[in-house]
Symmetry: none
Subunit: 141 residues, 4 copies
């Protein structure tokens, strides 16, 4: 089961509202279970780095099967992925910081949301986690 | 002057309505004057190739300062760009086919729209041209 | 519905048997509906170019929603994609020649097979088409 | 002397059996002495990151002439490769963590195996090391 555009846009709309409440200009990206882009929006004033970073965070979450913030402890000194950092590689970037979260519906992963733009990636994660928790049911066709 | 997210989404909404009227599943991308992604949406059922192609068409238009369909004659035998074709390179792909158009407001280029998904790129161009002609005025803040 | 490894390997085994019957050393790649690699095998003596080409053919088929051989007329002089050729870009290469075919089960696309190594891509296509037509049913778990 | 597909598949079959015994969904990649892919399999449920990581671990082992786990101390503070981490670059990624091991036959390196998917890369290494130690003799043709 893959995320629909309707679901993806409902989630990014929620995330944008939350970001606005935080006075954060940011980029928002949703990828499907294959890691391929479904929806993207960058609010006015968000920096250019947020583009690849937001997409990369969503790709990272779907790629590792967990929220990207979970990688942060692993890349610290003594951690199993020490030395790994941001790897910008277009739409398939690895971003081991907060802001990429899995999106689930009916208990299954259907995609991932990436948020980039807040002063700290913890806030990106908060926004992404809150927004991704509000997945609308599949519209009846 | 750069396109705003509000303008970008108004244009992609128009393009999506037109595509639906053509029964076309497609991807829609808007880039700003720097060639950087502002808004993107891929409707359910659009193939994966539409992702990079739609973004690439918008990038191509802003990069060459004209609609991407204008490049098609140039790549033909005897043309000045003969031999050039689709070059997929993530968000900075060259796509010398119809579907990438400049977006203007008050006589100035403010961004570009890329559409990919129709059976022929001529239809992608038609949709993109019609949608980009309907730029909303900048919202008053 | 995505292809399983069991299904992917059954298909590549069939393709390898067919290639051997043609005395062809080749590479065989299966990707899922997201364009991500599931199974790969390169027989002894197959050239290095077959690696990215086989994976790219499978990716091309899933990306455009049709067999890669269907792109060949479109890239000819006068065709809508004239000028486009082989674009090697790792696992997401565009290969507009025969050898990449969709894999269907119960009427739905579940992945794609790419074959590269025969003296002509028409033979690659024949092998791929014959093999992909023999998808085993999902194993009962 | 280069690894054959028969040998590569015997090794990945062993590795897959070991992974199953550990209840690990994983990707398995074998490259030849040129660092080029020979065989690959991703078991159902393995995350997408395992694809490039497994291939990268095998490439890393053959590239540095030793098991990839040997790089982990070198990238620590004070180590000669401090600052180096995971570099995802398609089939030629650098992965300085456990799971990439050399494959030897008759005392000579004939290829490398990469395993990715276990909860820790130490387990990936264990599986890879155990599997690569069981290289079948070259089949008599």
């Amino acid at each position: 089961m893959n995320i629909t555009l309707t679901q993806a846009e409902a989630i990014t709309t929620t995330a944008r509202t939350l970001a606005t409440a935080h006075a954060v200009a940011a980029a928002f990206a949703v990828v499907d279970t294959g890691g391929n882009l479904v929806a993207f929006a960058r609010t006015d004033g968000a920096t250019l780095i947020t583009i690849d970073t937001a997409i990369g965070k969503a790709f990272t979450a779907i790629s590792v099967g967990g929220d990207s913030i979970n990688l942060t402890p692993a890349i610290q000194p003594g951690g199993p992925l020490f030395g790994t950092g941001l790897v910008l590689a277009g739409s398939r970037s690895l971003v081991p910081y907060g802001g990429g979260v899995l999106i689930r519906a009916e208990g299954r992963v259907i995609g991932a949301l990436g948020v980039s733009g807040a002063p700290t990636s913890d806030v990106d994660h908060e926004i992404a986690a809150a927004a991704s928790a509000q997945v609308p049911a599949l519209p009846s066709h």
